[in-house]
């Protein structure tokens, strides 16, 4: 509906220049206006960036101040150790750890020398690496990486008591009470080893264990029935300086002939042994291995099967 004349005239009555609409055009009309717009845009951007940086700085500052305040608060408390978190990938337990650490009661977390603790733990042969952390306010965190034994040694202790020592893959020799007896029985005994002690009191690592592991590992994987009966492995011939003969491992099963392996190609020797044993089984039945003294697989060419006195007759 069009406005009436009355309203039109009343509109004109009190009109001021202030009612003229003021608005900047979208496009700058002149070069000077464009230049000013650019400058304003740059200034606005700079101000915005500055504001963001300022707010960010304040936020960061407040956060840093708060966190540093918390740290100061904890260190001021100087709380004694209330908890030890223990994690391991092996068989050592908290009882052993408590005996090993022997931290006096009431010791604060900051008083504990964690580097010394780590070194102390690593003196035990079963411990391959120890990781010790302080967890404020009152917790000590210890994580162990243990060695796994691949063989055992039967030695006579100080008072004539038979003692079992374990030999890890890297040749480290250590005593341990923490292995399951069933697992221990699966480990072969080592023979032909001369034990020596270091200044620290630990045993000198045994050389040749990598050969034992390679042979037993392959045998357990490919010929588990065969490997299961192997009870003793002799390292007497594994070190070249000990003998003019080529390095060899001598394995003595619970029953049956002694087996001599060279340290060159275990796969071929095991295959050869398997063939020989099958052939003997097929030809001689249950009495097949009774009079065989040894099978030497270490020589190039065919294996040498040595028979006992009865057989020779």
């Amino acid at each position: 509906m069009p406005p009436s004349n009355k309203s039109k005239s009343s509109q004109a009555t009190n009109r001021s220049w202030r009612q003229i609409r003021q608005a900047a055009p979208n496009n700058s009309v002149t070069v000077a206006a464009q230049k000013r717009k650019r400058i304003q845009l740059i200034k606005a951007s700079a101000t915005l960036v500055g504001l963001v940086a300022l707010i960010g700085g304040i936020t960061w500052g407040v956060t840093a101040w708060k966190s540093s305040g918390a740290m100061l608060e904890l260190s001021d408390h100087n709380d004694p150790i209330r908890r030890i978190l223990f994690e391991t990938d092996g068989t050592l337990n908290e009882t052993w750890l408590a005996q090993k650490l022997s931290i006096p009661r009431g010791t604060s977390l900051t008083e504990v020398d964690i580097f010394q603790l780590k070194q102390g733990l690593e003196t035990h042969g079963q411990v391959f690496a120890a990781h010790v952390e302080r967890h404020f306010p009152d917790t000590l965190f210890i994580e162990l990486e243990e060695r796994m034994p691949s063989a055992r040694l039967a030695v006579q202790g100080e008072f004539g008591v038979l003692e079992t020592l374990f030999v890890a893959v890297d040749g480290t020799v250590y005593p341990s009470q923490h292995y399951d007896s069933g697992f221990v029985k699966t480990l072969p005994y080592l023979d032909g080893v001369k034990l020596a002690k270091l200044d620290s009191g630990a045993y000198k690592p045994i050389r040749g264990m990598d050969e034992v592991n390679a042979l037993f590992g392959m045998a357990r994987r490919d010929y588990p029935d065969l490997a299961e009966s192997w009870r003793i492995v002799s390292l007497k011939m594994v070190t070249p300086e000990a003998s003019p003969f080529p390095a060899s491992l001598i394995v003595r099963p619970r029953k049956g002939p002694e087996l001599v392996f060279s340290t060159t190609d275990y796969r071929q020797q095991l295959e050869k042994l398997d063939v020989i044993l099958r052939d003997l089984q097929r030809r001689r039945g249950n009495a097949g291995l009774q009079d065989i003294e040894s099978i030497d697989l270490s020589l190039r060419g065919p294996a040498v099967v040595s028979f006992g006195k009865v057989a020779r007759r």
Partner: protein, 405 residues
Amino acid sequence: MSQSKIIGAVEIGTAKTVVLVGELVGDSTCNIIGKGACSSQGIKKGEVHDFKAASNCTHAAILAAEKSAQVTIDSIYLAQTGRHLKGSFNRGMAQVSSSHNIVGRQDIERAVEDAKCKQLPVERVYIHHIRNPFYLDGQQVDEPLHMEGSRLEVGYWSVHGSERKLSDQIRVINAFGLNVEDMIISSIAAGSMVTEESEKQAGVLVLDIGCGTTDYVVYKDGYIVQTGVIPVGGDHLTNDLSIGLRVNRKHAEYLKLNYGHALVNKKARDEKVWLIGDFTIGDRNLPRFAICQILNARLEELFKIVKKELGRLGTRDYLPAGVKLVGGTSQLPGIDLLAGEALNLEASLGRSPDWVQEGLRGPDYSTALGLLHYALTGHQDGDVQQTSSKGLLRKVARMLNLNFS
């Protein structure tokens, strides 16, 4: 800590656009911190005739002023001139409503409303409502509140202009990304700078003779009683010389500025002046008498128009403080003598107060200085609606140099 505001005083004249940058600190201090000027283009008799050209020179002047001040202007105070500006005196009346005949606020408001409610033709808008003294039962009073009387009267000198022409000038400023905060007519701005309070009380006429127009304002009893714009200025003098002496405008302007005089000296009838002065082709002798005669004739005519416009206000009794001349053309030698003679008033050249720095005391800057003075005092009576700069959003926008329309 006082908050400061950066304002620009812009006078878009026919010959030159002048910008002053002022820093308003609190309510009582205005520091002039920058200035810029540019030859005007696209302006005729104070009105925009070519928007692009006018914008170019105005924006260049504002940018130069901002650069000299090393700040960004927040808003603009714009001087207005042009023959579209008209003024009228409107009287408002109210019967005192109190039974004891004591004037209350409502009585004053009714009288003021009555004075301001005069209808304008369509396309016309008010620029100023300038209050004159109150009359209570025919007696002039400065402050009628709580005085006794039955009939309250008040007069307003209302200045209005063409909405379209005002809008053109506003758009020139808007195109630079700035808003016009207030608009003041040139004569009032210039008058506020060159007159003293005692002169305003006694009665004084201020003539701002510019390039395209002559703006005038009459003060009496401390009030502005009349303003006006006569579309005659220095350009007409140049034009008259150009036609009368048959020289081009450039040479006519040169003759006006270097040999012009408002009075005709009959003793110097034989004095000759060189048009160019370097004996090149076209250089010739001209009688200085002729130059002065042409200028004198046009100026006399101008003063006659002024006298006619003033009517009964243009007498020596009404204006004992005489006439003050400002504007570029007021620098013409002898013009004050001619004005005194033609208007029959004491005439003198207007000069900005001593507190204005030396470089800004000339007649070129009196209008722009008046705008800054006006921005500081902010005493525009009537329909002032101050633009609010309060509010979080506006403050943030101001920090980011954004404009809110």
